[in-house]
Subunit: 416 residues, 2 copies
């Protein structure tokens, strides 16, 4: 008998029929003898409906009241799911964040969980109840309702699993798990049976569609395995866990990519200490988020500085850089508003060499010009012209044989 | 400076435009220097939408979860109203029943308020906030959300006003106040500037459309004046208060009536002690609610026993009475499925005689046969054929000059 935290997203609870289906899944896990805590998002569309009410009323909704308003969406789905469980003779009790005591800081609309009271949950579990908890919400020290921001139900689930020392945190969603790359682009993409926390974090551009990154960080900090799996099939999904727990090491686990990027390079800047900060701060001060940064000192006197921003911020950034270029006496500016970022991610890279050269060789063979390179311990990222993106992902997927990854026979927790 | 509790119903909050209008009213009262606590119902239609979700999911929703579900309706309207107040620079904070501490018993869907925590409200008021509280809901000793049943927001408002020792409890609705009779039937019906608690309770068939009866009882117990007034006009409405506070005594304050009644008489029952209970219990055991009861002992050996039930229960009741009639050796049964009940209500009756004879004379003049009579200290009720109802209300309204009631210059609390 284990303690399992299951989280169901808005699309899994989008209709009364789907709520009944989720109730069946929860009931089945309960009947296998496990203690079950369920975290729910709002029914699909409900949060948007509430946000629309607030923004139609006022351009700047008071944050405290905004949180009180939108948190009702999860209260609706939690009570409906508990009713559906009662209906199939599975004893259940629903609790809001306020009722359970999901203690957060004061930051309305993006609060952080500070502490979770577990005694009530443990008491209910010991009496045989399934405990259904509203995700995405908490209560601050003043007793005001707070929300964790979009996708916050994942964070609630992981934080609850950690606080309860659960055996596993299962995130049910509408995909089967984490793939080696986006299956819409590469149909041969393999479903991964497991992935390390580090890889998952580096795969964020792919992973964000499946798991909120903050919840992966939290799970990693608390040594809490997360399983990503589909509400609508019986596939065991992907287990996100510690490297040590993964038996079979892979060189490369996946290829992440993002479109809608833009690149700007400022070249031949007379070098002095602190020049990088001077450039970056001008851009950040304009509320523009910088993604990749690369600098290669061409010689001891001048440096070339390259970075990427989201494409929507390109024009605004270019104006700032042109001005800076004059002030700093840079020799030239290079820019490309139509680039994409592509990353190879894999913990195996750390111990094995040759991944980068194999990558650049594969790209070179199909004539891709690499415009920028950055690396971390378990990731190599390149910036390429967006028109090359699809062919590049395909050639790398083949080169590293990601279509041949076999699902490891890693036991599904629920079956042990 | 006074403390005023204002309650706004679902139709007053039915759209975002109406919520803004309510915010303006609240803000105005605040600017007049008063401390304001606002109790809100759910937006019109919202509670029905939530109930529909529950009943579409399961025929017998779990009562605890049902309360958790439907209580979200008031949480939505409370936060929207608080946002609308912020928007016009009126500081406000919303609170759910759980947050404030509206303590109730365990009876889900029809809970009774046991206690209200006032320290948080008083603290917020002292800091200059308008406090907006979700009506209709509370929390039981286990910490579960409870609801007070339909119309429960009136009860929340009165209970809060009593707990806070407010100067007045104002119930805003979509009518101007309490009339001498239904203005849809008698257009000359007068709006009453005041009415006593006792009269209001006796006028329930009229009053229930304006005020929930339980809240009138509660107000009477706690000596808390209630003002019924319209959200959409600036009329001072009707003050429901203690008899002592009403300066100008009226003989008759209003004419209440109800249709859809049925009458059954069982005559010539050989009399013995307890025979009444024997008859009534047979009927109540079948879950039929008995309204009026009259008995006149024809002689010392036999009695005639007459009562009314709702018309929908007529056929079922008649079968029971026919069976009883054989067992009890009654001489005959009389019945009429098409009757109406009509009541004159007025505290003035208590000290003045002649009201009954004036009433019967007026009805006699237009040829109305009175089929049954019951009286209480401040009410005379008659059962008549339903076809006579409209003409009877009209002739009595004229006879007691109810169209000539002048609005007393009773100061509106808000203007003092």
């Amino acid at each position: 008998m284990a303690l399992i935290v299951q989280k169901y997203g808005g699309s899994s609870l989008g209709t009364l029929e789907r709520i009944k289906h989720v109730a069946d899944r929860v009931h089945q896990a309960r009947q296998e003898g496990h203690d079950i805590v369920v975290v729910v998002s709002a029914m699909q569309g409900d949060t948007d409906r509430l946000i629309q009410l607030a923004t139609a009323l006022t351009a700047h909704p008071n944050p405290r009241e905004y949180d009180a308003l939108v948190s009702t969406g999860e209260q609706v789905s939690m009570s409906l799911l508990a009713m559906a469980l009662h209906n199939i003779a599975c004893p259940a009790r629903s609790y809001s964040g306020t009722q359970i005591g999901i203690m957060t800081d004061h930051a309305h609309t993006k609060a952080r969980i500070l502490d979770i009271k577990t005694h009530l949950i443990q008491e209910e579990l010991s009496q045989g109840y399934v405990v259904v908890i509203a995700g995405f919400q908490g209560i601050n020290p003043r007793g005001d309702v707070t929300t964790l921001g979009r996708g916050g139900s994942d964070t609630t689930a992981v934080a609850l699993a950690a606080a309860l020392r659960a055996n596993e945190c299962q995130i049910y969603t509408d995909v089967e798990g984490v793939y080696t790359t986006d299956p819409r682009l590469i149909p041969e993409a393999s479903l991964l049976s497991h992935i390390s926390f580090e890889e998952m974090l580096e795969m964020s551009s792919l992973g964000a569609k499946v798991l909120q990154m903050r919840s992966v960080e939290l799970a990693s900090q608390h040594n809490m395995p997360i399983r990503v799996l589909s509400t609508f099939t019986n596939h065991p999904g992907t287990l996100v866990t510690f490297e040590e727990k993964i038996m079979q090491r892979r060189l490369v686990s996946g290829i992440a990519f993002s479109r809608e990027e833009a690149m700007i390079a400022i070249n031949g800047v007379p070098y002095k200490a602190g020049i990088e900060a001077q450039i970056l701060m001008k851009v950040s001060d304009a509320d523009i988020e910088i993604d990749m940064i690369a600098q290669n000192a061409a010689n001891k006197e001048t440096a070339d500085f390259t970075f990427t921003v989201q494409r929507k911020d390109f024009a605004k950034t270019l104006i700032i850089i042109e001005e800076l270029s004059r002030t700093l006496n840079a020799t030239s500016i290079q820019s490309n508003a139509n680039v994409a970022k592509l990353s190879l991610v894999g913990i195996g890279m750390r111990s094995q060499t040759g991944v980068a050269s194999k990558m650049f060789q594969a790209l070179g063979q199909i004539g891709v010009t690499i415009q920028m390179i950055t690396t971390s311990e378990i990731k190599i990222s390149v910036v390429i012209d967006e028109s090359f993106l699809e062919s590049s992902v395909r050639v790398l997927h083949d080169a590293f044989e990601l279509d041949k990854i076999k699902l490891e026979k890693q036991p599904l927790f629920m079956e042990t």
